[in-house]
């Protein structure tokens, strides 16, 4: 009973936070994209990481700015090569269909992530992706229902709706836990990265992927896209 009581209290608290955060009109209550990690089955720890998958040693937050043509670039993606990163627990992310728009416009997930694609409009949608990345056609599905896909390999999927030509989004599956999407000012932050030097990749919608290297003590981390 006590456990149930705490769970109920937690639900009330989370609901209250969502309501409050959206109440002043400055921020919409948005669902968290990632389920809290569950405990991994006993397995050998990956180099530099604990058995639970967290970095074992000192970490850093890589904070930076992405520019394209000298101007801050929103919705750009930066990710770091991390071949030694351990597999993570099953994760979920959401690409919402709302107001005839995919939200977010750019979704980055780690390989193995299940992406939910709910239809939160009162019209039908027909989500598909035929080029690159994962290919799929989810068919028509009505308001209030959802479909899901597992992104099981790296790649970029350009996502459209076959009956709403203005709807477009990108799902980028990367084989690393260290990635970020830039905000409207081009800023991004990759948190809790084991200290060290990395090869990074960066991409923006409509552009090509670039590759570079970054040292852990480099600040600020500036990425210039063509």
């Amino acid at each position: 009973m006590a456990v149930h009581g705490r769970t109920a209290m937690m639900r009330i608290f989370v609901t209250a936070v969502l309501v409050i955060s959206g109440a002043d009109g400055t921020a919409a209550p948005r669902l968290s994209l990632v389920r809290a990690p569950t405990r991994l089955a006993a397995q050998p720890a990956a180099p530099g990481h604990t058995r639970e998958g967290a970095p074992a040693g000192p970490t850093m937050d890589l904070v930076g700015v992405i520019r394209s043509g000298g101007r801050p670039q929103a919705d750009a993606v930066v990710w770091l090569d991390a071949p030694d990163a351990p597999p993570s627990a099953p994760r979920r992310a959401v690409l919402d269909q709302r107001n005839l728009t995919f939200e977010p416009h750019v979704l980055v997930v780690r390989v193995g992530t299940t992406v939910e694609l709910p239809n939160n409009d009162r019209v039908f949608h027909n989500v598909f992706s035929f080029h690159d990345g994962k290919r799929f056609d989810l068919g028509l599905y009505p308001a209030g229902t959802s479909k899901r896909l597992v992104f099981d390999r790296p790649g970029l999927s350009r996502v459209f709706c076959n009956i709403h030509p203005g709807m477009a989004a990108y799902i980028l599956a990367v084989d690393t836990p260290y990635f970020a999407v830039s905000d409207a000012n081009g800023r991004f932050s990759i948190r809790a990265v084991p200290r060290g030097a990395y090869t990074y990749h960066a991409w923006r919608p409509g552009g090509r992927t670039i590759t570079g290297s970054v040292a852990g003590d480099e600040a600020p981390f500036e990425v210039s896209l063509p």
Binding site: N99, T101, H105, R122, F124, R135, A143, N162
Partner: protein, 345 residues
């Protein structure tokens, strides 16, 4: 029965629609997300008609959770009598306010409750603009065209619509006054529309009923217009089958029956193309020479040249339409420009 003078009734409807649009301005101004979309279409048909059209849409969501949608359209068609390009909008060479509504969707305990108020397409059967305009067909189904004593796809309601149920089974009801655009303009009155929709896996089935006033001249069109329809869609592996069958009376002493079946194929092997096929029929039972029995078969494709640019090609064979040729080919180019203002603060 007293019917308002058509022009004054239309003015009242336009004012009501403008008021509905204005009522949405505060929601748009306080929006946390807003998108603007402009769609331009140019087309030509071998039956001698050319067409140009522009639709402007503004839609988004206010901080209160109210979504808004405003759409205006201008379209003009040259040449002789034809129903080419009439899939979703009237071609009268004037600007029409098509839709202007506020919408709120609630999800209490997994249920679905949607409330819509303003000016919106009559929620009968397959009725969303996108189902007509961007599906690859350049003509409205005969049973949904406003010139054939049927249920026009440009019927609009100024009123309230409520959808309630669960996502897999819900009923949508609408009460409103006609706000039609195009040639089929109904007189003032109260429309009652109800639609039940159920879905199971890839199958979506709906049953609709409407009671309204006839759009034909009151000199000979007496009584109510009343239609019942069943619609279905099924989609698997990029192959979609959809259709409607509608029967009812446009006014006392007449009966219209008809339907269409569409096949749409959208698979990677076709690249950017969606192949479409349609078979349809329409029967209007009335005293000769007004009776109409028509059939039409359409094949075509919609090809995305670029993400916002698509070309649609239809070839068709038809019979029973006195003023139209037996065969025709239609081609149209559509460009959609969209600007998203996400997360406005």
């Amino acid at each position: 029965m007293s019917a308002a003078h058509p022009s004054s009734a239309r003015r009242v409807r336009c004012l009501a629609a403008a008021a509905a649009a204005l009522a949405l301005v505060p929601a748009a101004a306080a929006a946390q997300s807003i998108s603007a979309e402009a769609a331009q279409t140019a087309g030509y048909s071998s039956d001698g008609s050319g067409a140009a059209a522009t639709q402007i849409r503004l839609f988004g969501e206010a901080a209160s959770g109210v979504r808004f949608h405003v759409e205006g359209a201008w379209a003009a068609r040259s040449g002789g009598e034809s129903d080419a390009f009439g899939s979703a909008y009237p071609y009268e060479n004037k600007i029409d306010l098509i839709e202007a509504y506020g919408d709120r969707l609630f999800r209490p305990r997994g249920a679905l409750l949607g409330v819509r108020a303003g000016r919106f397409r009559t929620p009968f059967g397959i009725y969303h603009a996108s189902d007509y305009a961007y599906s690859g067909f350049l003509r409205a189904p005969l049973i949904r065209y406003d010139g054939y004593f049927a249920l026009s796809n440009t019927f609009l309601e100024n009123g309230v619509s409520v959808a309630a149920g669960v996502p897999r089974l819900y009923v949508e009801t609408a009460l409103g006054a006609p706000g039609d655009v195009g040639e089929a303009i109904r007189p003032s009155g109260l429309d009652r529309v109800v639609r039940l929709q159920a879905s199971y896996r890839s199958l979506i089935v709906g049953v609709s009923h409407i009671t309204t006033k006839p759009y034909q001249s009151p000199r000979f069109a007496h009584g109510d217009a009343s239609f019942t329809g069943i619609d279905a869609r099924w989609m698997q592996g990029g192959v979609e089958l959809r259709g409607e069958w509608i029967a009812g009376q446009p006014f006392d002493g007449t009966r219209t029956t008809g339907g269409y079946l569409d096949l749409r194929v959208h698979v990677p092997a076709l690249g950017p193309a969606t192949a479409v096929l349609r078979a349809e029929r329409l029967g209007y039972d009335a005293i000769p020479p007004f009776a109409l029995y028509a059939r039409r078969y359409t094949a075509g494709a919609r090809i995305r040249i670029l993400a916002p640019l698509a070309v649609s090609v239809n070839v068709l064979h038809q019979s029973g339409l006195p003023s139209q040729r037996a065969a025709a080919a239609d081609v149209a180019l559509t460009y959609v420009l969209r600007i998203d203002g996400r997360h406005l603060r």
